[in-house]
Symmetry: C2
Subunit: 256 residues, 2 copies
């Protein structure tokens, strides 16, 4: 038994499951059936029903007339909170700007992990006419792209398993992803070409907290035609330098 307060392992797990359930709704999944949620989470029906009811209690999910679930109006509260209260420290903004300049005008950005997604929380848009732009707050799969591999390199084997499963690329993909993630961890950076979107490449390095845990990834993104082997080699030192500066700022996560 956990403590009577009930926020032991099971309580924590329920909170994470509830947040991950909410993360299944995105731009391309604006509504979901109960069946879809059960399939996507792999959780028992009774568990999903309870989690959904709890999220409905706070207005984060709503049941439509046709029985499908949609994000609820309660999310507007978090949207407001994010806009009002969430700000990247000015030093970090400057760091992203310098990185972009030093990388010849490619876009630079920071991703954090959220379940099996990565979320873009900051960006300095590149100056090239053909540039890669991501919306702030946009969620992308963790299995695809250099930033995803860097974020996974700080996670548990189970995270990698879940991320690989979400890719829907068959049973062999987990080993492929594991190799990419291992490499990202070993060399301290990762590169990817067209994994998520054809013709788009990225290089990324980890941002760590005081305990040296990976809490975010900083990356450069642009067209594959400009991410040649030579140019990527030149990006790596400026990128890892930026990652160290951002780590030193200690503005992301970590435990209290």
């Amino acid at each position: 038994m956990q403590s009577s307060a009930g926020e032991g392992g099971e309580g924590v797990r329920s909170v994470l499951r509830a947040l991950d359930l909410l993360a299944l709704f995105d731009d391309s999944h604006r509504s979901r059936s109960m069946r879809e949620l059960i399939d996507a989470t792999g959780l028992p029906k009774s568990t999903v029903v309870r989690l959904v009811a709890t999220l409905e209690q706070r207005g984060l999910l709503w049941s439509r007339g046709d029985g499908r679930l949609t994000p609820g109006g309660g999310l507007l509260r978090w949207a407001q909170l994010a806009q009002d209260a969430w700000q990247l420290p000015p030093e970090a903004v400057e760091c992203l700007r310098v990185l972009s300049v030093e990388a010849g005008g490619e876009s630079s950005r920071i991703y954090i992990r959220q379940g099996i997604s990565r979320v873009c929380v900051a960006q300095h848009e590149g100056t090239q006419q053909l540039r890669h732009v991501v919306r702030i707050g946009a969620a992308m799969p963790l299995w695809a792209g250099a930033s995803g591999h860097v974020l996974l390199s700080g996670g548990a084997a189970q995270d990698l398993h879940r991320a690989a499963l979400a890719a829907g690329r068959g049973p062999d993909f987990e080993a492929v992803l594991a190799e990419r993630v291992r490499r990202a961890g070993d060399q301290g950076w990762a590169v990817s070409h067209g994994e998520r979107e054809d013709g788009v490449s990225a290089v990324a390095a980890p941002i760590t907290d005081a305990a040296d845990r990976v809490v975010a990834a900083v990356g450069l993104g642009g067209p594959t035609t400009r991410f040649t082997e030579e140019r990527v080699s030149a990006f790596v030192p400026v990128l890892t330098k930026a990652a160290e500066r951002l780590s030193d700022l200690q503005f992301i996560g970590g435990t209290a």
Copy 2:
């Protein structure tokens, strides 16, 4: 013991506590110390520490260098989701517009409950030069204002207790609030004058789901000088008619 899936009563409670903890951050509380969170929730320190660590895992809270906690970049994901996916049905938009017109141009809006706050999720701005405008997503206390009383009239005694406590108006306030809430429930609407903001009045009525539970409140708000007894009497029938129409649309919450 709950089921092995662990989303029994304790799991649900943990999820609600985590969401309510997050709701303690707002425009006027952009950062909080661990001590403040413990005091505001009344939960044991060990519980708050665990909940905070869990929210940090998903990037919803971040620890600053000085040890204070702030809303995390992960909220940007929810902001994006709210903007992309959350939409009031066109029939409800029209209903708010008609209500505003029928009430002589006062602003009309819908609030949902979130913990001990009410969140404005939709608004039709009035046409009067002196009008009362609320930001979409703005959170206000549940203890103050007609909409709060209507929302509380559908809740449990414990909710009323927590809402009264949050008012910080001393031990006698709970009885005052209970009386206002009882009256709102009995007559099916509520009126308030200057409870939250001097010179601002409101009238509100409940929006209910198929099981007749209060899931939201629809209200009219404006300057107290225009919310005379005579005018309020004229507002009530148009407001309750709008509340019925909005309830029939079944677009808010309810259980699956």
